[in-house]
Subunit: 243 residues, 2 copies
């Protein structure tokens, strides 16, 4: 399987290169982006090209890690323990920021998906742990509406940022369990964005049960350790914000 995966990746690289060439060719003909005079000159190109796809993919260690996780997932604390362990391993493996999340079937305790922060390695600012977990849960069930797969629960090692908060109601999960608090992430150096003051109530009004502070000390300790060790902070406007 590993070799055939490499073959697929090579083919995809070739395909991407051909697409780039095609777009550059289109640009020289003035068919793409006729504004701004750049294309009208018919000479100047930039390194940028239109992409038609992007991918979110868990690194290889995650599957092994989950397969070797022998502890039960019957309670919210047990589920949070897995999320926190994944966030720690994500730091150790240097595959992203100190955040992780899991989607679990509330009733059967089955693990539906796993998400870790992949912003820096996937090169996508939306690839927060919650977004990855929700998207991979949807990939697993084959549709965007998780409410069609029973009562699914998103368990995240840290309270969601403004983006992930907004994403929760669109996903169809029935409950949200959070570990560390916003202030813990901020103390480690992260901008968490601005949620509405009554963000928990906002989710509750949409039928989503929210529980915060589950294993909060353990979850916050991972963030503190990341901050203390100078882990990368990847807020686009971080410097600016602190000026």
């Amino acid at each position: 399987m590993r070799n055939s995966l490499r073959t697929i990746q090579k083919q995809q690289t070739v395909r991407n290169k051909l697409r780039t060439l095609r777009v550059i060719c289109a640009k020289t003909k003035g068919r793409l982006n006729s504004g701004g005079g750049i294309i009208n000159q018919g000479l100047k190109h930039t390194d940028m090209h239109i992409s038609n796809h992007c991918k979110i993919e868990l690194p290889g260690w995650v599957t092994d890690f989950v397969e070797n996780w022998h502890e039960p997932l019957s309670t919210t604390s047990q589920r949070m323990k897995l999320a926190i362990a994944l966030s720690e391993e994500n730091i150790r493996q240097q595959t992203g920021g100190p955040f992780a999340a899991v989607v679990v079937n509330e009733k059967t305790s089955e693990l539906v998906s796993v998400g870790i922060n992949l912003v820096t390695t996937a090169g996508l600012s939306i690839a927060h742990a919650e977004m990855v977990a929700l998207s991979l849960a949807q990939a697993a069930i084959g549709e965007w509406n998780l409410s069609h797969a029973g009562h699914l629960q998103l368990v995240t090692s840290c309270e969601p940022c403004a983006m992930c908060f907004g994403a929760v109601p669109w996903s169809g999960v029935k409950s949200l369990i959070c570990g560390a608090r916003k202030k813990d992430a901020e103390a480690a150096g992260f901008d968490e964005g601005d949620k509405p003051d009554h963000w928990v109530r906002s989710l509750q009004r949409r039928g989503i049960v929210v529980q915060c502070g589950v294993l909060k000390s353990e979850a916050a300790a991972v963030l503190a350790s990341y901050g203390d060790n100078g882990g990368a902070i990847y807020n686009a406007n971080h410097g600016q914000e602190n000026n």
Copy 2:
């Protein structure tokens, strides 16, 4: 290329099936998800399996549509015109909801990326037009921080929902241009989520210039037409919310 793409897709399907089998095998051995008693029985399986990747991909018509767009992109209105045209075409092609966005280099007017709402077709609730446009811009420049590629501008046919609002600062865009208003999307039947009351100020504090209401009548007309024609509304808790 089309044939080799099919070959890749077939190989990926085989790969996914093998992965599913592998996970099911792991489950029967009690190595995955030992909670809830399901696995302990060693017999009962569900149709769900852990996915390790998902993909956001523009449908084929988008590239042709953009290549045949001969109008300039020098002003915010011209850029909005393209976003609105894409939102209309997305309805016509039945490839998603009535929303579209583009990322443009503010200074050179070069088109960096295009996004359309792909929630229903990609099977991902995060695949809103703005998220797709930002992610494909990042795929195009090869990194998550768009501020490294100059002053990039996100132009969206409708004011961002709570999730997309939260995503904007993480992306590195320098400005946000909106067409239709939240109330226009809500009138068409969409839940737009709860943004902070002072969401524009929240972005401005992070160095992002915001302009709302560009070609708002034209943008709102697309939403109204979608609503009037009974277009699919895909809020997970929509029914519940209106009860």
